[in-house]
Symmetry: C2
Subunit: 656 residues, 2 copies
């Protein structure tokens, strides 16, 4: 069908949103424009099959890929990214294709948040109140000189840098405030190899005394979610918090897909605008929650991975994806937030956390600073588990880092019934060793819809402990259970029968899924080993503390993660969850200029180990594709447990 300029109305349910588009418009794009969040992990390439929608009324022109079965096609399901609008439409977005905002944020397990120690509460942003003598013929120095003189007398501060925007308003504000004004200063950077700050920058002046109103924003820009906090800089408190999906999600689930999207004409701009729109939404929500006037927000401290940071700043991330994987820069100067489209006053600067490498970004530096890893003599292992797993080993003297491409399994990607950790995701799993029947718990207690990453770990650990799968991740075909069967992806275990689910289909875990998890956890563990040996240590047992950062990390069961060989085999009390370390660091640096300076030093201190073509890593990786590991000595406690269980089973079998 030729594309023409006929307008068509598309109605999306259950969101109940209408949009009018030109006939011929891509249905996924129509959904994006309508603000309907559809899963589209592959960024519209048609290969992930996560964007299936039901065409309830009307006609689309659509290509069927192998991700859509003939049966689904007959039912009226289509891949949104592969469909073009022909007539007016009513489109239903099924539960599994929807991104639900409700549970995007949930409480993690025992989160010990503030770990950094020894920092002064002294924000980089400061408010000064000055009363100036009005000018006379005998004393008619310039308004600016008068202001400088006043600040020098009252605060013994000289050598300030004045933003031109401030100079522009100076004459008016001084007179409006009857020569009493509040001056906002910001320190942006210290001199290298010193703790001495470069001269403060006056970013704003207000008539009268407004010191009481003194706020900033902290942001974590994740590939999946954007989290923001509004901070009271007088009291060092979070006064509002909000979170939303990163609007870029409709263009692809992971950074690689997004970088690819940036190479399309206008692609970078679209992604930049998408995340800015999300940020603006979060800011709006924070202001509504707190009833703070936007004009009192002084600056934004933002942490994100290297790709997210570059896209936000409008810098093509092209070379992050191409060997030898170079970012444009690790350090970016503070920029005016509104020059990026962020809806704040002109004077607001946005700081981005410095990065270490293409795949070890500002979010990790922020986490390290927030967790105070760089402050302690103790050897710490820090990990942020996700599609891209970042790991850091070190202490106050040295820090080494690496990133391991774990694949999307931890976020439910590449898993037959995988999903992100929202309502209805199976997270808790236990198995009755006698009849192999599961006990299942879902997030929010909803009817099951799929399996999230932490659920996957629990399921695989449970299946292993029950002997349903072997240490190679393969199903034991001899077990007498109707739940173990052969499906289209090889052997599988049925977690829920169709009638018990939201999706009206059996929810299963397949051998392919388990393989994917093995690869993901294998990459993380191999990264840990390679890094540990790279810095001359022989084994993980030396870690005095393991810090697990990231929304995902907060929800994993430590023991079970050790069981499958994702986490090193250490006493459980050495593990600490810090939740969103990136946001934590962004907040703490808003409160303390010492920590802001630490961020720079930490980024400089961190040595990056490039694993992508590292032979050791490849060997370690292959060795780690086993439950928990081909070298059982790496996981003595697991070995003991499995041996014990195996003996128990043997006993039961003999008894039976």
């Amino acid at each position: 069908m030729a594309k023409n300029l006929v307008r068509r109305k598309v109605h999306f349910s259950p969101d109940n949103v209408d949009i009018v588009v030109e006939a011929g418009t891509n249905l996924l794009e129509a959904a994006i424009d309508a603000g309907v969040h559809i899963n589209a992990s592959c960024g519209g390439a048609g290969v992930c099959g996560t964007c299936k929608v039901l065409i309830e009324k009307g006609e689309v022109e659509s290509t069927r890929t192998e991700k859509l079965s003939e049966e689904e096609y007959k039912q009226g399901l289509r891949q949104a990214c592969q469909s073009r609008v022909v007539t007016d439409l009513t489109v239903y977005v099924p539960a599994e294709s929807r991104l639900e905002k409700a549970v995007v944020s949930r409480e993690g397990k025992k989160v010990s948040e503030v770990l950094a120690t020894g920092w002064r509460f002294k924000p980089p942003l400061n408010k000064l109140f000055v009363e100036l003598p009005p000018p006379t013929l005998e004393d008619n120095i310039s308004d600016l000189s008068r202001l400088f003189k006043g600040i020098k007398q009252r605060y013994n501060l000289s050598n300030l840098w004045m933003d031109f925007g401030v100079v522009k308003n100076l004459a008016k504000v001084l007179r409006k405030g009857d020569w009493k004004i509040t001056v906002t200063t910001l320190v942006t950077a210290a001199k290298p190899r010193t703790k001495e700050w470069r001269r403060p920058r006056v970013i704003n002046i207000e008539p009268g005394d407004t010191r009481e109103k003194h706020y900033s924003l902290a942001f974590d820009i994740g590939t999946t979610t954007v989290c923001g906090q509004l901070l009271d800089l007088n009291r060092g408190k979070i006064i509002a918090e909000s979170i939303d999906y990163n609007g870029q999600i409709s263009y692809g689930a992971d950074v690689i897909t997004r970088i690819a999207y940036c190479q399309k004409p206008g692609g970078l701009k679209k992604l930049q605008q998408a995340v800015v729109a999300t940020i603006n939404g979060v800011i709006e929500e924070l202001l509504v929650q707190s009833q703070v006037d936007a004009k009192y927000i002084g600056h934004i401290m933002l942490a994100g991975n290297t790709t997210m940071t570059q896209i936000l700043l409008g810098l093509d991330p092209k070379y992050i994806r191409l060997a030898p994987y170079t970012p444009v820069a690790n350090f970016f100067p503070p920029v005016r937030a509104n020059s990026l489209g962020i809806k704040v006053r002109k004077q607001v600067y946005l700081f981005t956390f410095p990065a270490v490498a293409s795949y070890v970004g500002g979010d990790i530096v922020s986490g390290i600073v927030g967790a105070g890893v760089h402050q302690r003599k103790d050897l710490t292992f820090f990990m942020d588990i996700g599609t891209n797993g970042e790991i850091v080993v070190g202490n106050s003297d040295w820090l080494a880092t690496a990133s391991c491409s774990a694949g999307p399994a931890f976020e439910g990607g590449g898993i037959k019934h995988g999903m992100v950790a929202t309502n209805g995701a199976i997270e808790n799993f236990d198995i009755n060793p006698s009849n192999l029947e599961p006990e299942i718990g879902t997030i929010g207690g909803a009817k099951p819809k799929g399996i999230c990453g932490s659920g996957l770990i629990n399921i695989v650990a449970g299946l292993l402990e029950a002997g349903v799968i072997g240490q190679n991740g393969k199903f034991n075909p001899d077990l007498p259970s109707k739940r173990i069967r052969r499906g289209s992806d090889g052997c599988e275990y049925v977690l829920c029968w169709a009638p018990e689910t939201q999706i009206g289909k059996d929810i299963v875990i397949t051998e392919v899924d388990i393989d994917n998890l093995l690869r993901a956890k294998g990459a993380m563990y191999a990264g840990c080993q390679t890094l540990t040996r790279g810095v001359g240590m022989s084994c993980c047992a030396d870690f005095e503390r393991v810090i697990i950062a990231g929304a995902f990390g907060s929800h994993i069961d430590i023991e079970r993660a050790i069981t499958i060989g994702l986490l090193p085999d250490l006493p459980v009390d050495r593990f600490v969850f810090i939740g969103n370390g990136s946001l934590l660091g962004a907040r703490l640096t808003s409160f303390s200029r010492d920590l802001l300076d630490d961020a720079r030093r930490v980024a400089n201190m961190m040595t990056n180990f490039e694993l992508s073509e590292n032979v050791d890593f490849m060997n370690n990786y292959v060795a780690a594709l086993f439950l928990p590991h081909t070298n059982a000595d790496e996981f003595p406690s697991v070995k003991k447990k499995l041996d014990r269980l195996s003996k128990g089973k043997l006993k039961r079998r003999i008894t039976a």
Copy 2:
């Protein structure tokens, strides 16, 4: 007549320019929009009478003020600023109302330009060429780190500040140049009380080696004219020069009228745009002349008086005009030229010279630096003679300054047949003592059209020496010459009879004109005396050098200026003309970062004496309203000359 939306065509001759405007449009504004330069000294208030035009065809709605005689009104003359377009029009702009571009710049007398000494040729703008090793997996630091490393290795330069715009293009430019690029750095300021520069700012990167192409612009923004030079920073040469009237001139001749105009709604913006349009025209002309590609211009060094600087930067000059006369700031940070509307590349910074006070601006600081006054132990007297006369006394240890409001007489303002120094202005004047007939020379040798400032000095000095006027500036009524007569403004002397002129009217000099000149020169001389005594010196004889800056200054006859008491009575060889000192300083600071730093120090060093309500100044002023001065001892050589001439006349009279 009600203004309505009917369109009317206005044709301006002799420029032959058409413009279509709405009926009801002000005729002066129509001329401004059409690019026709009409004199409008008072900024459209109707009080100066300089914008008279002849309505040759069509009808205007016009108010007659006292500046337009009934006879002129009958001839069809109207004040453009007091007229509104009713029908299509043909408008003739008479010679005396026109601003001619042709002679806006002319050679001054013996101009010794470069006086500053001991400066290194080392521009603040620098080009570095670096060849970088391409990244590999073993060396995949960020592009920016690679660049920093390369610069450090090759030039031993570290700690550079990177403009965000540079970071934005970095990945592309590095690869386009195959890892060989040219980096442009700029130092913007030294640390206070040191000669150490703050870290250089990388403002541009270009693929390949472009060091050969390295240019900057120097500008003087005068109230009347805008002068620009294109400079080759490799060779320290001026490669093109251009000048034009400041487009603001149609909104008023002097800074006070312009400041008043800024208080109208949108007024500041209009004036800002007017001068930017002039600057853009000058830049275009410089590029055409030189055939230099605009992209190789690295920065702009600009000097102007305080009002011109504030308007250019978009800062309301309101308080410059109101007691106690405070400027917004004396020091402005460098700004992006294109943010002001100047048509250059985004990376170009514009530096403005620092000012000392509301009426001692960056143009004077630039002149002092350019003339090297601050470098010499010798006591120098520096003066820039104009509507606002600025004077400086000092040496390398101290500098004192004042500004004297001389009124517009030196620029032809307030003088019956006064005009700016363009074609047809009477400049040279001699008088035959026997028959009192004049000998007249005009600029460009054209038919006389009026009297310019330097001509006025020569005429008054000549009339004084010939005894036509007395030392009180009044005409001697007893002299037998038909050229001396009583006119509408009291006694007058006819310089040219109507048929000899371009304007078809007798060109005269009146007692009122002479009074205006007395006030103007009196203010300058009183300023000089007040300042000299203010710094504890008793007399001008201590001046080892007198530097006369300004376009006007270059054309005055030293001896005659002494005769009327404008310049102090010193040997002629102590006087030096430097022409446009403001442009000179702007150029030299483009060539030498030492001098750029000197500008800051000089501005800080200069002590401003506020004369506006100074009692000494008022006394000195009243005493100076005499030719040359009421205190004859101030001008011993003039006294001697006048005595000698007077004896000669007496002798001749006795002989006769």
